[in-house]
Amino acid sequence: MSLLKVVGLDKSYHSNFRVLTDINFEVDTGEFVSIIGPSGAGKSTLLRCINRMVEVNEGKILFGDLDVGNLSKKALRKLRTNIGMIFQHYNLVPRLTVIENVLHGRFGYKTTLQGILGKFTEKEKEHAFFLLEKLGISDHAYKRCDQLSGGQQQRVGIARALIQEPKLVLCDEPIASLDPNSSKVIMDHLKAITSELNITCLVNLHQVDVAINYSDRIIGLNQGEIVFDGPSQMLTEGRINSIYGTETRQLITV
């Protein structure tokens, strides 16, 4: 059985404009899937539908055997703890320490009161340190997040997602604000998550070449419709053009 199944998904923010139209795909455990497409194609919206940060208009999203659209408030929280999310701008709480930000990933397992008091078990804290160590930023554990570089902050974001012990990680342009060096580090980590921890990754990307290099499979979106879905080797120049429209990207000659 597939981990995630999207069936006939339609989404519009305003009644007169449809952002996603009839999206269908399945993702298996441990897959690394990139979603590419021009700006405004609906990539971010698609990710947000999956953990119901926005409500779906039509169609179904099945996570394991759960129908995401039909969950009670409590079950939805439960679902979200099973799905980690990583953002382009990291979305950390800037004034808190790295370790505090990582531990925020545990809230889904807490009662409101525990969460408010900020009670975390020793085991959770140790796990957090373990993750930071693995991501190579345990040196900065007690620094405030706004004192870190972009690449370091993104790794905190990853740690926060991983400490949720998710089955699926959604990444919305995780490297768009990073320099090439840090980008490589982050992509390598994401890749490692899928291969070592067997967690599924769904990544929105702008960099076609990165997508081809890292992912098993690529989904191409254009104007809210899937125009390509297949293994990354199959993404030919012509298909790239059909995803991004005819104006071919004039990449700088590097």
């Binding site: 320490t97 370790i99 505090e100 531990l103 900020g118 975390f120 020793e122 804290k125 140790e126 340190f129 373990f130 930071l132 160590e133 345990s138 040196d139 554990a141 007690y142 620094k143 405030r144």
Partner: protein, 278 residues
């Protein structure tokens, strides 16, 4: 795997706070304020207070004021005219204050001015702001006689003090890069101010000015009356201090509220129309 860098408390549990100075200061500030508040409540002089009676009476008074408003000592036409005077006083104090403040604020902003000039202006402004408005009004009533001049100049002082502080902080937030770019084209100070600083801060300048206008309106209610410049505040003073007519006070309060809310709406509209932020 035992991980390096973990900090533990004495009982062996892992800390997650940074323990920075800022954090400690924030917590202690809040604690101190809480303690001072409690001391305050203990020290207050409660003589003549019967809380239960006072609260129910306040309720009654509010009811009389707001549910049975009426004008007895003057007419609606008069009321509108008087509100007009109050708005006029506030408007003049704000406009004059804004114009003067812009210039002072340019010299008070550390990124546009010399350190010493900036310091002198700041101290000057802080002192002016600490002197009660009514004293300024008195001084100018003595010098200029009763009338709008005393009220407006009295309010002007505080408007300037407030706006210079606000404006100069806005100016200081102008992107240093923008200033640098203009400097690099060979622009002089005035060019940079007129075409770099002012245009990029206009919305904020407007916001602060409108906020001050609202404040000045409520100050003008009290000060217009004291300075003999009239306005709705005079009627309010008479209604409350001499006729003890709560219904009239209610009506005047409504009039003031309506004007204040209209001003707020107009200022938001104006701001959105002429100085959109996007």
């Amino acid at each position: 795997m035992e991980v390096a860098n973990i900090r533990r408390k004495r009982d062996g549990r892992i800390t997650i706070k940074a323990g920075s100075k800022a954090e400690a200061l924030m917590v202690s500030t809040l604690m101190i304020l809480a303690v001072l508040t409690m001391i305050g409540f203990l020290l207050f002089d409660y003589s003549g207070l019967e809380l239960k009676k006072a609260i129910s009476e306040t309720g009654n008074n509010l009811k009389t004021m707001f549910l049975e408003p009426a004008l007895t000592h003057f007419s609606w036409g008069e009321a509108i005219y008087q509100v007009g005077i109050t708005v006029g006083l506030a408007f003049l104090a704000t406009v004059l204050g804004a114009v003067i403040s812009i210039f002072l604020a340019l010299f008070a902003a550390t990124n546009l001015s010399n350190e010493w000039v900036s310091k002198v202006i700041r101290i000057f402004v802080a002192v002016i702001r600490a002197v009660p408005t009514v004293l300024w009004v008195l001084i100018f009533a003595i010098a200029a006689g009763l009338g709008s001049e005393a009220a407006i100049i009295g309010m002007l002082f505080h408007s300037i003090a407030y706006l210079v502080k606000a404006y100069s902080e806005v100016f200081e937030e102008v992107d240093e890069g923008t200033l640098e770019a203009l400097r690099a084209t060979g622009s002089n100070w005035w060019h940079i101010v007129m075409h770099g600083v002012i245009p990029s801060t206009l919305t904020y300048l407007m916001s602060w000015t409108f906020l001050r206008f609202e404040i000045n309106f409520s100050v003008a209610v009290a000060m217009g009356a004291a300075a003999g410049a009239g306005g709705i505040g005079f009627e309010l003073f008479m209604a409350s201090g001499f006729y003890f007519d709560l219904r009239e006070v209610g009506m005047i309060t409504y009039a003031i509220l309506v004007v204040a809310i209209i001003l707020e709406i107009i200022s938001t509209r104006l701001k959105n129309r002429y100085f959109p932020s996007q």
